[in-house]
Every structure is written in structure tokens, then in C-alpha cells.
């Protein structure tokens, strides 16, 4: 993160650390979280292509989890999963 004083900040207000927004955890925005029935999941990656927040974790072409640090709980993945493998559960329920 840049220094707090004017003289310590990058000239011209340039942000020099690409992708630094990863440090900002939008996960605490949500009121619902996605859950996946692994048995139904076909690894089609439709959830991954439609997730607005890069919160479907994919490794070696397989959906391995949800990035709960950033998932805002929009529910698009559950709505679009062709196998109906994803459901949205109320946080804290």
C-alpha cells in the first residue's frame, strides 16, 4: 500500500500495484453464500464465466471452490448453473 503522506505517494496519483483491489475484501457485502453439490457439478465452468467477482475458484479446468473473501452473494452462479448444483444459503443460517 502507498505511503500516507503526499510526498510518499506515487507521482500523478498513479496506482503502481496492479490488481491491488484483491486486498479489498468484498465478501462481507453478502447476505447469502453459494454452496455447491459436488456430485451434481459437471465442471462446465458456466458459473466461472458469469461470476462478476472472479469468485469461482478454478484449478486445472475444475471448479474447486468459491472465493468467499470476495463473493458478494449475487446468486448468478446458482441461477445459471445448468446442473442446478449451486444453491444460495442465507449467511448465518
Amino acid at each position: 500500500m502507498p505511503g500516507e503522506r503526499s510526498s510518499e505517494m506515487e507521482e500523478g496519483a498513479v496506482i503502481i500495484e496492479p490488481g491491488s483491489s484483491r486486498k479489498y475484501k468484498t465478501g462481507d457485502w453478502r447476505s447469502k453464500r453459494p454452496e455447491c453439490d459436488e456430485l451434481k457439478c459437471t465442471n462446465c465452468l458456466i458459473c466461472w464465466i458469469y461470476c462478476p467477482d472472479n469468485s469461482i475458484i478454478v484449478e486445472n479446468g475444475k471448479r474447486v471452490g468459491f472465493k468467499l473473501t470476495h463473493c458478494k452473494g449475487c446468486g448468478i452462479c446458482a441461477n445459471q448453473c445448468p446442473a442446478k448444483a449451486i444453491t444460495m444459503r442465507e449467511e448465518g443460517a
Binding site: 500516507e4 503522506r5 503526499s6 510526498s7 505517494m9 507521482e11 500523478g12 496519483a13 498513479v14 496506482i15 503502481i16 496492479p18
Partner: protein
């Protein structure tokens, strides 16, 4: 080098040809048109390597310059009057992004009514934007300032955009003798373009022009303030290098016959030249008068001004622009600079030459008469049929 004859616009175009910027993006507006027309001829004849972009408006012209300068390219443009006004929003952005864009401004009155002639309302309107502002008296100065501008703006201690102002029609269109530098000398003086960050450095991706909350905006603005503070020593050192090459010395403020003067009149641009004539006439009559040409308006050379004017009995500040509801724009800055002086001269303001209204030596003489007789208001309107 040989003395040649050109008008101010042509001289600016010549300076660009010699510097050969990477990108020029501009939109034509009287009385700057000759700059872009002439430069486009250089492009058409392969005399420069510049990527010349005919923008569809001045707002876009400066936006193109921003994209270009942010991409590690030496970038120049020119405008006047309504064109500068149209760019107003992005002027602030260029400065905040610390982009060393060089812009020639052919000083012309702002509408309305629409008027194509000289006054300083355009560049004065941009005085808060964070651009360095230099004013040239004649074609030689317009050319010299243009060369120095690149060095000043690109200096790592500065990195701010700069406008070099020249009086519309009076300097832009008047054929004058001047001495340009040889091409290779210009290239050496200006040097290679060095940048800090570039969008085209794809291996080091940066985000430029972010959104600031209340927690960061002030610090980012303050950084511009600090950059402006570092500008005066840079302007002086560049002028020193320039003097070594040419023998022509440039100061931030140039006194004329001021050493033993009681009264002086200050102006920017071509009128500073006319003032020298008037001073010579009055001196011949034994009057102890002098004149002052302000070359640098932003950053405002307060300390230097106080030193120069302190002790004079009276100074008239001429403004070729008006801040309607107040006074001319230069006047309060001079007054403020002298506020803490031990011996403050009596200060008065003369608004003149709006919309290209010619100012004659007789009228300038009347300003000196006011000073010497202690008459005149604090703010006076010279040459208007009130």
C-alpha cells in the same frame, strides 16, 4: 545562426519541427491556425517523424495529448481562446496526472461577444489549473520559450504541463526578425524524452487517473503544489543553459530602466515592448520611470517580485484581462506579493486592450502621468469609451 523573418506562429511551428515531438494533436482556432497548418506541411514533407492527429475538438485534442504523454511520448499542442476554454476540464487532469505536455497559447479574447483578437482572458482563465505559464513579448521570445518549455516541463523535479503564451495576431501574425537555433543545437538542448511511467510498459501495468475519496484527493493536489514550488529553480537553470547557447538571458521578471526609477508600469506580453518605448521617451524628458515585464505567471514569482518592486513610489499593473466583479487577474497577485514589503509602492490596476483594442504609447504615457501625479483610481479602464 542567421537572422530570419517569421511570424510568431511560424516560429512555434519551427521550434516543433526542430524538436520533432512524438505526437502532436491539435484543433485549429484563430490565431493559432498557422502553427498547425505549417506543422502539418512539415509532416506532409516528411521533415518530422511526428504522429500528427487532427483532433475533432480541443477537448479531444488535449485528451489525446494526455493519452499520448501517459504513454511515454513527447507531446505538444496549441490553442487559443474558446479552444482553451473547451479544454478547461482536462487542463486540470493533465496537471494532476503530471504529464509534461507543452502547449502554445495564442492569447485571444474569450467570447462573448466573439472576438478573434488579443487579450489574456484565455490563459488567465486557466491560471488555477496547475499548468506552468510563460508569456513571450515577441517572436524571438515565443520561439525561445517554446524550446525551453520542453526542458522545464520534462524536468524530473517538475513534470508539469506548460503553456507558452504569445499575443494573438500581435505576435502570432506579425513578421519579425529573430534568430533561431540550428536544428542539431535544438536537439541537443532539448534532449531525449524521459518519462516516469508509461501505459505502454505492458510488463509494469499501472492504473492512471484513479478515483480519489476524501482521504486522498488533498494529498494528490498538494503534490502538484510541491511540484510547482520546485519549478522556479528549474526555469532559472534552463534559462542559464539557454543563455550559454544563445547569449539571450531570460529572467522570471525583467526590469527595464528600473534601477533609479520612482515609478514603473508592469505588463505581460507584447505591451511590455511598447512600454519600453514609452519609458525611453519619458527618460529623455528626465522622468525617473521604468517598466517591468512579467515573463512567468505560474508559478507566481512572489518573492522575486517583492524584491524588485519594493521601494518604488508607485507601480501600475496592466491587465489585458478582467475578472468581472473584481479587478484584472494580475493585479491582486502583485498586491498580495507586496503586502509584507517594508516599503510598499502605491499600486494601481489598468485594464486595457480587451478584444485586441490597441494600446498606444500616448495611452501608456497617461498611465505614467497618473502615477507621477498621484491621480487615477485603484482600478482603471484604459482606452474604453465608457
Amino acid at each position: 545562426m542567421a537572422i530570419i523573418a517569421m511570424n510568431g506562429d511560424q516560429a512555434i511551428a519551427l521550434s516543433w519541427r526542430q524538436i520533432d515531438p512524438d505526437v502532436v494533436a491539435a484543433y485549429p482556432i484563430t490565431p493559432q491556425t498557422i502553427i498547425v497548418e505549417q506543422f502539418s506541411e512539415f509532416v506532409a514533407d516528411g521533415l518530422v517523424n511526428t504522429e500528427f492527429v487532427c483532433a475533432e475538438s480541443e477537448h479531444s485534442a488535449l485528451s489525446i495529448c494526455i493519452g499520448s504523454a501517459a504513454s511515454g511520448a513527447r507531446t505538444a499542442t496549441a490553442t487559443a481562446s474558446a479552444g482553451l476554454a473547451f479544454m478547461w476540464e482536462v487542463l486540470y487532469v493533465a496537471s494532476a496526472m503530471r504529464l509534461p505536455i507543452v502547449m502554445a497559447v495564442a492569447n485571444r479574447a474569450l467570447s462573448g461577444p466573439i472576438n478573434i483578437h488579443c487579450d489574456h482572458s484565455d490563459s488567465m482563465g486557466a491560471r488555477d489549473s496547475g499548468w506552468i505559464q510563460l508569456y513571450g513579448e515577441n517572436v524571438q521570445e515565443a520561439y525561445d520559450n517554446s524550446l525551453m518549455a520542453f526542458r522545464i516541463a520534462e524536468h524530473p523535479e517538475v513534470r508539469l504541463p506548460i503553456m507558452t503564451c504569445l499575443d494573438g495576431f500581435i505576435v502570432t501574425h506579425s513578421l519579425e526578425r529573430f534568430e533561431p537555433l540550428p536544428d542539431d543545437v535544438v536537439k541537443q538542448f532539448v534532449g531525449e524524452f524521459k518519462y516516469r511511467r508509461s501505459l505502454l510498459d505492458v510488463s509494469k501495468p499501472v492504473s492512471m487517473g484513479p478515483f480519489d475519496g476524501t482521504d486522498y484527493y488533498y494529498e494528490h493536489k498538494y503534490a502538484q503544489v510541491e511540484a510547482m514550488r520546485r519549478t522556479i529553480p528549474v526555469i532559472n537553470s534552463v534559462a542559464k543553459d539557454f543563455a550559454k547557447l544563445t547569449g539571450r538571458e531570460y529572467q522570471l521578471i525583467e526590469p527595464y530602466k528600473l534601477e533609479d526609477a520612482d515609478y514603473a508600469v508592469m505588463a505581460m506580453g507584447s505591451t511590455a515592448g511598447t512600454l519600453k518605448e514609452t519609458v525611453d521617451e519619458l527618460r529623455a524628458e528626465g522622468k525617473k520611470v521604468g517598466s517591468i515585464k512579467l515573463r512567468l505567471f505560474r508559478p507566481f514569482p512572489s518573492a522575486e517580485l517583492m524584491k524588485m518592486l519594493e521601494g518604488l513610489k508607485g507601480v501600475a499593473v496592466m491587465d489585458r484581462a478582467i475578472s468581472i466583479g473584481a479587478s484584472g487577474p494580475l493585479f491582486p497577485e502583485v498586491r498580495s506579493a507586496l503586502y509584507e514589503a517594508k516599503h510598499r509602492p502605491k499600486l494601481s490596476n489598468y485594464i486595457y486592450g480587451l478584444g485586441g483594442r490597441d494600446v498606444r504609447p500616448e495611452e501608456l504615457r497617461s498611465v505614467y502621468n497618473d502615477l507621477m501625479s498621484g491621480s487615477g483610481e485603484t482600478v482603471n479602464y484604459l482606452g474604453v469609451r465608457a
